[in-house]
Amino acid sequence: MKIKIKVDPELCIGAAACVTVAPETFQLNNENKADVLDHSQAPNGPSYEREVEVTEEELQNILLGAESCPVLAVFVYDESGKQLFPR
């Protein structure tokens, strides 16, 4: 399935909880904020927002990463645009 993952750089404080849980999807950049990756790759350069094709298992792990963020800076949407997290 396709999902959209977005990090709000205004909210992100570089705690790196998401990076610990889902390192193939999140990586800290030199601004000390989390970039979104597509399976450890950054096609078209670094970005805070990305549409990614994932399995159910991968989605669950990305949601865990989002839930672990202490400032809820990670947003996950399904294909229809419905916000999966924060609920």
């Binding site: 205004e10 909210l11 404080i13 570089g14 705690a15 790196a16 909880a17 610990t20 800290l28 030199n30 601004e31 000390n32 672990s68 202490p70 400032v71 809820l72 924060p86």
Partner: protein, 382 residues
């Protein structure tokens, strides 16, 4: 099995949550002095700055506790009896337990004087109060800060956001003076001056000026006008009520890397726990959100018979008006036997690496974000 968790912050709630995942039959009770569900302290500055609405700081809802069958009592734990396995509460009850988790956190140190306008920043009530004070003041009002650590740093970011005229006084020669070297400290002081902030180092608080409302702050290095004073002079683990409990205490409650105290069936987690740091070889208070969350989970695992160990390397990252400051692992200058400091002329940053017996145990990074993963790896592979 009856488990009582003292403290409804992140350590206590993550313990309860993990415990429920591992065991449906366990009776879980949280004793908390705060009535509301779990919220994120780290979101409080965002809330004050208007980046998120107040309801967004909550990480759990009342319904969640009900669904998880986690009982919450809005009481203070006043005494524990470890021989007879009960907790005495402020509403005069004695609650029996099989396992006890102490996650009672820390409270803010205060200045020995008060006027309306003095603000702290630790819990949601503090944040509501501070926001109220801020809303009463127009831009360019004179505002003060006393302190030179993480909370003072948050006050700076908040007050600058509202375009106040800021004076800051602190006890040391510069921010985090017991952790940073003079080079890093000098860069931070200069950065504050460049932002138009009045900096008063090595200043000891004397008293406040004003009738009922705050007008100014007096230090032994002079005084400054302030309608609001943000105080951030440190946090104390909440352990005074445990003095006669039989638990081993130092700065906090001493626990090993499995979060076990010196008493069987009694654990501590979060800011009150002085936990054995497996990398630096001493007990210390991690004082960190992610560490508290992980420690709560470790306790739940060990209560249910696993053999889990806390081995997270703590990372604290701060942004001080555009300067990135990151502390990794153990950054105690007294404990380290060598500290190496290196300036990066390109980034105008400084990396300090802390060694114990030739092993890397910690680091501070000032505008050196790119070093983070490399140094974490060095600590991990020691």
């Amino acid at each position: 099995m009856r488990v009582i968790i003292i403290g409804g912050g992140i350590a206590g709630v993550s313990c309860a949550e993990e415990l429920r995942k591992l065991s449906l039959a366990t009776e879980i009770t949280i004793l908390s002095e705060e009535e509301m569900p779990l919220y994120s302290r780290l979101l409080l500055p965002h809330y004050i700055k208007g980046l998120v609405p107040r309801e967004r700081v909550f990480l759990k809802t009342d319904v969640w506790y009900e669904e998880q069958k986690i009982t919450r009592f809005n009481v203070r734990a006043e005494k524990i009896d470890l021989k007879n396995h009960f907790v005495a509460t402020s509403d005069a009850r004695e609650l029996p337990f099989d396992k006890l988790v102490i996650a009672s956190g820390r409270y803010t140190r205060d200045v020995p004087d008060y006027r309306r306008g003095v603000a702290y920043l630790w819990n949601l009530e503090d944040a509501d109060h501070l926001l109220q004070l801020i809303n009463e003041q127009p831009p360019l009002t004179n505002i003060g800060i006393y302190g030179g650590g993480l909370i003072a740093c948050e006050f700076l970011n908040i007050f600058k956001n509202f375009n106040f005229n800021i004076s800051i006084a602190f006890r040391g020669p510069y921010f985090w003076s017991r952790i940073l070297d003079g080079e890093s400290g000098g860069i931070i002081n200069q950065h504050l001056l460049n932002q138009g902030i009045k900096v008063i180092p090595e200043a000891k608080f004397v008293e406040l000026r004003g009738e009922d409302e705050l007008e100014g702050v007096v230090t032994d290095k002079g005084e400054f006008e302030a309608k609001i004073l943000g105080v951030g002079i440190g946090l104390e683990p909440n352990i005074s009520w445990l003095t006669d409990s039989g638990l081993k205490l130092k700065t906090g409650i001493l626990v090993n890397e499995k979060m076990e105290t010196n008493y069987p069936d009694v654990y501590a987690a979060g800011d009150v726990a002085e936990v054995f740091d497996v990398y630096s070889g001493r007990n210390r208070i991690m004082g960190n959100w992610l560490a508290a969350k992980e420690q709560g989970r470790i306790v739940a695992k060990n209560i249910t018979g696993q053999n889990a160990v806390f081995n997270q390397i703590t990372v604290s990252s701060m942004n001080l008006l555009g300067l990135d400051i990151i502390f990794l692992g153990d950054t105690d200058r007294q404990w380290a036997d060598k500290v190496e400091s290196k300036k990066n002329e390109d980034s105008q940053g400084v990396t300090q690496i802390f060694y114990k017996e030739n092993k890397v145990i910690g680091a501070t990074l000032l505008n050196q974000n790119q070093e983070r993963s490399r140094i974490l790896e060095m600590i991990k592979t020691n």
